[in-house]
């Protein structure tokens, strides 16, 4: 019985750590949705490019890891801006579903660009962080680091949104798009800033995910869907809801993985998501479109 409890506790802790990373992932997507009112279906593919950035800069070109991380974050932020200017901006006036589909096209595009440029091999950073042993439990150091950085990243975004002028403008636009234009806020500029911020968060997430997963062109499909579900479950654009939902999902995946397979963890998480629509549709529709 005692051993069982240790495994359970270990799964719970790993779930919390995974939750931190998922929360960071969903934060960027949520920000984009809350402010610009579009869903970047290709969000996870931006993360994938960030992971490749880390891999090439650190493992192939031997940059210092922090510099490589900074460059990756900046790179994905630039991709976010380009995505906004090239794809989203021309479609701002059209049906929301068209914006969703257009970013779906970008998803195909980014996956194939990665396939063409980097091939389909699985690559990893080749960085082995030690495993933390405490009270008979094994917690990987990289997960702990990812969790800590995710928390710091989220606090930084929170402070940015709460304490700065641009942050206030972003929050205001998320509340009322029309009025803010009348108040003299340049929405186009705010959209670009938000896209850059969303991209940077994807970049930060990629620096952490590359510690946990091998990178390949289709890696986005492994955590992309779960990120969308977290955002929807928390109410798209609702930062607090997304944060809570990330931890709930991570625990379901982690505990499902403990008792059955990892895939069943995902099945339960997806099923939980659908059941939640029966039970708490209002949580799902905090901001109905």
């Amino acid at each position: 019985m005692a051993i069982f409890d240790v495994f359970l506790l270990e799964a719970v802790i790993n779930g919390v750590l995974l939750g931190g990373v998922l929360a960071l992932l969903s934060l960027g997507l949520n920000l984009i949705f809350g402010v610009i009112d579009v869903v970047w279906i290709c969000y996870a593919e931006l993360v994938m490019f960030g992971m490749y950035g880390m891999y090439f800069l650190y493992t192939v070109y031997h940059w210092p890891i922090l510099l490589a991380a900074a460059a990756s974050i900046a790179g994905v932020a630039v991709m976010g801006v380009l995505l906004h200017l090239l794809v989203i901006a021309p479609l701002l006036g059209s049906a929301p579903i068209n914006q969703l589909l257009a970013t779906g096209g970008v998803l195909f595009f980014l996956q194939s660009v990665a396939t063409v440029l980097f091939g389909v091999e699985f690559r990893n950073l080749g960085l082995r962080l030690p495993v933390l042993k405490a009270a008979g439990m094994f917690v990987s150091y990289s997960r702990l680091l990812a969790f800590a950085v995710a928390l710091v990243g989220m606090v930084a975004v929170y402070l940015f949104l709460q304490r700065t002028y641009v942050g206030a403008a972003i929050r205001a636009i998320a509340q009322d798009r029309q009025i803010m234009t009348l108040m003299g806020v340049d929405t186009r500029r705010i959209y670009v800033v938000t896209s850059a911020l969303g991209g940077a968060l994807a970049g930060l997430a990629s620096c952490l995910l590359v510690l946990l997963y091998d990178v390949h062109p289709f890696v986005g499909l492994t955590f992309g869907p779960i990120t969308f579900l977290i955002c929807v479950l928390g109410g798209l654009g609702n930062f607090g809801g997304g944060f809570v939902a990330a931890f709930v999902f991570a625990e379901i995946i982690s505990l499902g993985g403990l008792y059955l397979d990892l895939e069943w963890g995902y099945v339960f998480a997806f099923a939980f998501f659908i059941v939640m629509m029966f039970v708490r549709p209002e949580g799902l529709m905090a901001r109905r479109s």
Binding site: A95, L101, V120, P225, I274, L284, S289
Partner: protein, 330 residues
């Protein structure tokens, strides 16, 4: 004259394999017909703004249910396919009913159905003891792989005719929906749900009907694909990539015209084949790269798709008859 054009074209398509029977082009035609049917199934509901990203899931259910029933319970696909379609229909009700009941629309609906795609893909992968997981699955051959009872045909000509028939049925269903009251109800709903409800449209029931119809057709496409290829893997018939592929092909071909999905299938499959033949393994990834760029360009510049835009162009120059009653396409 143009009245008889669809029938003449249909006759030509039926006679084709008796005149020209090179296996490779015939194979491509069969694949195009099966996917055209799948894309048509999607567009039956997609054209009303019900953008589902769960159709990869329905297709996977269709393919795997039929194959699993055959291998484990020796249920003939003649019974297995209807059961698979029923299973997909049931799944559609379970997911879509709460969506419609609680008025989850637009990109919320797309994301919820995306979860469905994910579930089906993960369940197929997780039950690898039965389904072979990501390694794929093969229905057992029956009497040398040529049997009406097992819906396994050795000859490509037979498969071509089967696929052609199913595709024609798909177009027929599309037209029936196009001419029905349901179409007006659903168009009203896609414009404004409240107004439609006030005008006496049962919003939830109408949306549910079309979703179940579309899901069942998609399951049939999945089952057919599996029976023809005699191999399925989670990545070829289910998951988000397949769902997006369906949406993509339909948008490129034209979402509001009956032959749009078919044109989309022809373009996407031929593009992939041409790239594969001319560049071999170096082409890996290029087809999707071109798709991706095209999808974005189409949504920005040609939201009616290739066929839709061409017909519009013809119409504005007075070359084609007006769109409604007696629509030109087959």
């Amino acid at each position: 004259m143009s009245r008889y054009l669809p029938w003449l074209a249909g006759l030509a398509l039926v006679l084709l394999p008796f005149v020209y029977r090179a296996p490779y082009p015939l194979h491509i035609l069969i694949i195009i017909l099966i996917w055209s049917f799948a894309y048509t199934s999607w567009s039956v509901m997609g054209r009303f703004g019900l953008v589902s990203l769960g159709h990869g899931g329905f297709m996977g259910v269709g393919a795997y249910t039929t194959a699993l029933l055959w291998n484990f319970k020796a249920v003939s696909p003649w019974l297995g396919i209807p059961l698979a379609m029923a299973a997909a229909g049931l799944l559609a009700v379970v997911v879509a009913y709460p969506c419609f009941r609680f008025r989850i629309t637009g990109h919320y609906f797309a994301l919820v159905t995306l979860a469905l795609s994910g579930i089906v893909l993960q369940v197929i992968t997780a039950t690898r003891d039965y389904t072979g997981g990501s390694l794929g699955y093969t229905p057992e051959r029956y009497r040398g792989g040529s049997s009406l009872y097992a819906v396994q045909f050795g000859s490509k000509t037979t498969w071509y005719l089967v696929a052609l028939a199913v595709w024609a049925v798909g177009l027929y269903v599309w037209h029936r929906v196009d001419r029905s009251m349901m179409r007006y109800a659903l168009e009203a709903i896609s414009e404004d749900e409240d107004a439609a409800a006030a005008a006496g449209v049962h919003v939830t029931a109408e949306k549910l009907k079309i979703t179940v119809l579309s899901a069942m057709m998609t399951a049939l496409a999945g089952a057919l694909y599996c029976q023809y290829q005699m191999f399925v893997s989670p990545d070829t018939v289910s998951g988000i990539a397949i769902s997006l592929q369906m949406v993509f092909a339909v948008v490129v071909g034209g979402i509001y015209v009956s032959l749009g999905p078919t044109v989309g299938a022809v373009i996407t499959i031929l593009l992939a084949e041409v790239l594969r033949i001319s560049f071999g393994t170096r082409a890996v990834g290029w087809d999707n790269l071109v798709y991706g760029v095209l999808l974005v360009l189409f949504i920005v510049f040609l939201p009616k798709g290739i066929l839709g835009s061409v017909l519009d162009l013809g119409r504005s120059r007075g070359l084609a008859p007006p769109p409604r009653v007696g629509a030109p396409a087959a």
